[in-house]
């Protein structure tokens, strides 16, 4: 019900005092002294410790489970299995979710939960797990997505039929869905092309890699009320989904937000909370469950592995005239990869008229995929940006000039039917061309690559409230989780609106009962959307402040204006009054009409798409295939950087996650379908000595639909990484890699091939 805000958009003339500065974030001090409470940090009286038993097999029928010995172990207070969860229909959203939390008919991946124990100590719980007898009937498994698509592949879900295929045979398959997205006429487009490049690419899953394993404490109350404390990217989504799979009411569940030790999409969905709740219900005591790192790797979502065939054509004068793609996304054991983002975003940033894409989502015997920054986009853009740079090379054009020539601008209608408003892709490319990195010569022996990326940015269901306390300071209640500093950015916008110092404003994260529904913190939506509702709330409060001032002065409301934290007479005709501060008005609320506050509930729209360009210099050791990242610059349109340091942090963090995905991060499965590298030792995320400083250029082309012009900066920074690093390696060794990760053994093989046959140009 936004009223005040919807009429106002970005005002270029507005002078800002707080927005655009770099204050210390309010959650920072507790974090540097160790007082901030994360998922595993809550300790409740009488609390038990829960542990989960997991399948050693990637695919098996769960024939029987005998928990009697575990139940008999002293100190064990509850043991749960599939029998303790409602049986929801197979193949449905809740049926799948429930079966991923606790296996029912079959286990679908190594690490799939099959039982859980709550005991008075962690060591007793671990001992009890070893006393549970399970009879499995082991089935053939399939991990590779292309193998999984074959007609004779082991079938995971015998009730699965492919969506999106007319007249498909009524027989089981691992292909969940086929999605066709197209515009224009690609045949005609390719016929006009002077240069056509077609290549195949593949990518491996990466894990989100948050340093905080999932952790929660659940307490099932005697009246059926459920309290859950956990690290999550959205209390309301957790609450509603828990209600659905435990068949209870949302009103009976209160999900509280701990500080969150990284999520990146991986804590949009849950794994342990329903298990802890059922353990607690049966034990009548609170239960803490914290995953080990090994469990995080074996049972929580990585990103989708992909295979793709991409073809693009351009004319001699540098115009891309057609693009075509066939894409396969591996979703793991259950559907839900959000694969549609891939075809929707892969070419979006170039003003293409002719596009044809066919995408498939495929299940296989590994953990269900979870969201990760720009889900399903970077690994596909890796191929697109490789081809775009290759086209530029073939045409003898500078790679940024070539992108500029094809850049989408305001008025372009995308493959998914949205017409762009004011966007900043051209400005981003121009800033990249001018930046110190790009204008510096490529050092001897290094390779340089660039790549561009796009993300929609998101709005959606959002609520919040803002209250002026009797002393004039301001409290804010937010319903979205803060993954990296949104609280302070939102306080900054509120302080700017109210004309009070930032120190007078504090935000807290409400639990799921405190506010109306909020969509999860995901898709670069939170500072934008929660910011919108809080600005709206602040403006409601200002309207009330004006009303109260008018009453105090006994003048008409039109005779009062608000600015810089004070109500003033709008002109001398109104009367001679000393300005009234917020604190002065607030002090009188108990004798006037009660507290002054605003609250706002919106389905926020008006998100502004984001675009970025990355420049990277690498050095490749041609004898070992090792890559050193020598220099890295992220250029991206933020719309408006509310807190520039935090925006830089998003750019830098995204880039380095991309470095890991590009170079080394991958899952290693044995022939037995078991994961071999479920530790930070062998799952190789970048360490501090692997990367240089990450330079940033914040471009600001304001989003006209937001009062401060902001767009969203969480996703775009990871989108171009893989392509930029691939292009830099290509430039260094003479051939562009087409497989992720671009690990030393793979690169050495490529280098040897180039030495023997010559490359495909750089």
């Amino acid at each position: 019900m936004a009223t005040i805000l919807e009429e106002s958009g970005f005002s270029p003339d507005r002078k800002l005092k707080i927005v655009g500065t770099n204050p210390i974030k309010h959650d920072g001090p507790d974090k540097v002294v160790g007082r901030a409470k994360f998922g595993a940090d809550l300790i409740l009286p009488g609390m038990l410790f829960g542990k989960i038993l997991r399948s050693p097999h990637p695919h098996a029928v769960l024939k029987s489970i005998d928990i009697s010995k575990a139940e008999a172990l002293p100190g064990v207070k509850s043991v749960v299995t599939r029998e303790d969860f409602p049986e929801l229909p197979r193949g449905t959203q809740w049926g799948n979710l429930s079966r991923n939390i606790m296996a029912r008919e079959k286990v679908f991946y190594e690490g799939h939960a099959v039982a859980a124990v709550a005991a008075t100590s962690e060591s007793i719980a671990k001992k009890a797990l070893k006393l549970i007898d399970i009879e499995y009937e082991v089935l053939p498994h399939v991990i590779d997505p292309i193998e999984a698509m074959k007609p004779d592949a082991p079938i995971l879900h015998d009730d699965l039929r492919t969506k999106g295929v007319e007249g498909a045979e009524d027989k089981p398959t691992n292909v969940v869905e086929r999605l066709d997205l197209a515009m224009g006429d690609v045949e005609k487009g390719f016929a006009e092309a002077d240069v056509v490049i077609e290549r195949e690419f593949d990518s491996q899953p990466m894990h989100q890699g948050y340093i905080e394993p999932q952790g929660c404490v659940a307490s099932y109350g005697e009246d059926g009320g459920i309290e859950v404390w956990c690290c999550n990217q959205g209390t309301h989504a957790y609450r509603d989904q828990i209600a659905a799979i435990l068949e209870t009411d949302s009103s009976k569940i209160r999900v509280s937000q701990s500080e969150m030790g990284g999520g990146f999409g991986g804590k949009v969905g849950f794994y342990i909370e329903p298990v802890a709740i059922v353990l607690s219900r049966m034990a009548r005591r609170p239960v803490k469950v914290v995953l080990t790192r090994n469990e995080v790797f074996r049972s929580t979502g990585p990103v989708a592995a992909t295979r793709s065939r991409i073809k693009m054509g351009a004319t001699k004068d540098g115009r891309i005239v057609a693009a075509e793609a066939e894409l396969v996304f591996q979703t793991g054991a259950f559907t839900g990869s959000m694969f549609f983002n891939g075809p929707m975003a892969m070419f979006t940033r170039y003003a293409l008229e002719n596009i044809k894409t066919v995408s498939y989502e495929v299940v296989s015997n590994r953990p269900k995929v979870a969201a990760f920054r720009a889900p399903c986009v970077p690994q596909i853009v890796f191929g697109v940006e490789g081809i775009v740079s290759e086209l530029a090379d073939k045409l003898g054009m500078d790679p940024i000039d070539f992108r500029l020539k094809n850049a989408a601008e305001e008025g372009y209608t995308t493959l998914y039917g949205v017409t762009f408003g004011r966007i900043g892709f051209v400005e981003t490319l121009e800033a990249a061309k001018k930046c110190d990195h790009y204008t510096s010569p490529v050092p001897e022996g290094h390779g340089r690559g660039v790549a561009a990326g796009f993300w929609f940015n998101r709005g959606g269901d959002t609520t919040g409230s803002l209250t002026i306390t009797p002393d004039g300071s301001v409290t804010i209640l937010l319903g979205t989780s803060d993954v990296a500093g949104s609280r302070v950015s939102i306080c900054m916008m509120a302080a700017e609106e109210l004309g009070v110092p930032l120190d007078k404003v504090r935000a807290v994260l409400g639990d799921s009962s405190a506010l109306g529904n909020n969509r999860v913190t995901a898709g670069s939506r939170t500072t934008f959307s929660s910011g919108m509702v809080i600005i709206d709330s602040a403006r409601q409060a200002i309207a009330e402040l004006v009303k109260r001032a008018a009453e105090i002065w006994d003048v008409p409301e039109e005779g009062v204006v608000f600015g810089d934290g004070y109500c003033r007479p709008s002109s001398s005709n109104v009367g001679e009054f000393e300005p009234l501060s917020i604190a002065e008005i607030a002090a009188k609320t108990s004798v006037s009409h009660g507290a002054i506050s605003g609250h706002s509930e919106m389905n926020v729209t008006g998100e502004g798409p984001g675009f970025g360009l990355h420049i990277v210099d690498v050095e490749v050791d041609k004898e070992t295939g090792r890559v050193d990242i020598k220099r890295y610059t992220v250029v991206e349109d933020a719309g408006k950087a509310i807190h520039p340091q935090q925006v830089e942090g998003q750019y830098q963090g995204g880039a380095v996650q991309g470095v890991g995905w590009a170079l080394n991060e991958a899952y290693v499965y044995g022939e037995d379908g078991r994961l071999q590298n479920s530790s930070f030792l062998d799952y190789r995320m970048p360490v501090a000595s692997d990367v240089p400083m990450i330079d940033t250029v914040i471009v600001e082309v304001p989003n006209p639909k937001h009062p401060y012009g902001l767009r969203g900066v969480g996703e775009v920074p990871v989108v171009p990484t893989l392509g930029a690093i691939g292009n830099a390696i290509g430039n260094a060794i003479g051939v562009r890699p087409q497989s992720l990760p671009m690990s030393p053994p793979r690169l050495l093989e490529l280098i040897d091939k180039v030495d023997n046959n010559g490359g495909n140009g750089s």
Binding site: D682, R684, S689, D690, P744, P745
Partner: protein
């Protein structure tokens, strides 16, 4: 299920009698950086931890017979910080300084690294190249064993039941000699060697190599002492031709498997490169020494 216990004796004799008494149920713990990981992964379930960090002679670095004696439970960080040892055996220090993070190096020991018996243990190739000798004490008394004879297979050593590794004796440093350890990992730090090479060589006054030892890690079930690779250097001026021969000999010695850390082919290709680079660095040190 075994009942767990913990003891931290102050003498080697106490350790030996505890180990004998416990049969196979005791586990010696030095830094614990491998043992605790194995414990929590349920790979081991010892009835007794015998912590050897409180035994003075296992914690000492001392000059002896013109060389050094280093206690088996001296931590990596203590070696890194020992100036005289660094000056004499920089290659050995390079090995210990690659065992995990600085946090791990504050606890990890050469003795533990050797007895954990990983084919990829970073301190072992430079120890072998240095011709270090392990001093062992057991129920049958003391004995001395060249380091290359300790590891017999992945996770297996030639130590008998009840025996404990007490110290390493390093020979005197010859003039014009130098050593180096290098390894190949995808990341700069925090990885297990895909291949590793420890080289120790000695030149005469004319710059001809008169002695060399080449030890390779992660290319076979145990770290290897490769005589053919050393022969490639001995008698040469350690020039390009000798380096090429060294590389070929190192690659030929590679009996690697393909695993999560690298393919067999990749190890064969790169072990020669790493051996050559380590030799170049050892040569540079020998020339300055």
């Amino acid at each position: 299920m075994a009942e767990e216990g913990y003891v931290a004796p102050h003498t080697v004799d106490e350790v030996v009698s505890l180990l004998v008494e416990a049969g196979g149920d005791a586990r010696v713990m030095a830094g614990g950086t491998d043992v605790l990981v194995q414990l929590h992964a349920d790979l081991i379930e010892p009835g007794l931890f015998v912590d050897i960090k409180n035994i003075p002679e296992l914690r000492t670095i001392a000059a002896e017979a013109g060389g050094f004696r280093v206690g088996a439970a001296v931590t990596s960080m203590e070696l890194v910080d020992h100036e005289a040892f660094n000056a004499a055996w920089p290659g050995v220090v390079e090995g210990v300084a690659l065992i995990g993070s600085v946090q791990v190096q504050g606890r990890a020991t050469m003795g533990g690294n050797l007895c954990n018996a990983s084919p990829a243990a970073d301190s072992v190739p430079p120890l072998i190249a240095a011709q270090a000798v392990a001093a062992i004490v057991g129920p049958g008394g003391p004995r001395e064993v060249p380091v290359e004879d300790i590891i017999t297979g992945p996770g297996q050593t030639s130590l008998d039941q009840g025996e404990i590794l007490v110290s390493f004796l390093f020979p005197p440093r010859a003039p014009h000699s130098g050593d180096c350890y290098m390894r190949l990992t995808p990341r700069t730090e925090m990885d297990i060697a895909v291949v590793g090479a420890g080289i120790n060589l000695t030149l005469d006054d004319a710059g001809t190599c008169v002695a060399a030892r080449v030890a390779l890690g992660a290319v076979a079930p145990t770290p290897l002492l490769v005589a053919q690779a050393a022969d490639a250097l001995i008698g040469s001026k350690v020039d390009d031709a000798a380096m090429a021969k060294l590389a070929t000999a190192a690659s030929s010695a590679c009996h690697a498997i393909s695993d999560k850390r690298g393919t067999k082919l990749y190890r064969i290709k790169t072990v020669g490169v790493i051996a050559r680079r380590a030799a170049e660095k050892a040569l540079e040190r020998a020339r300055k020494n």
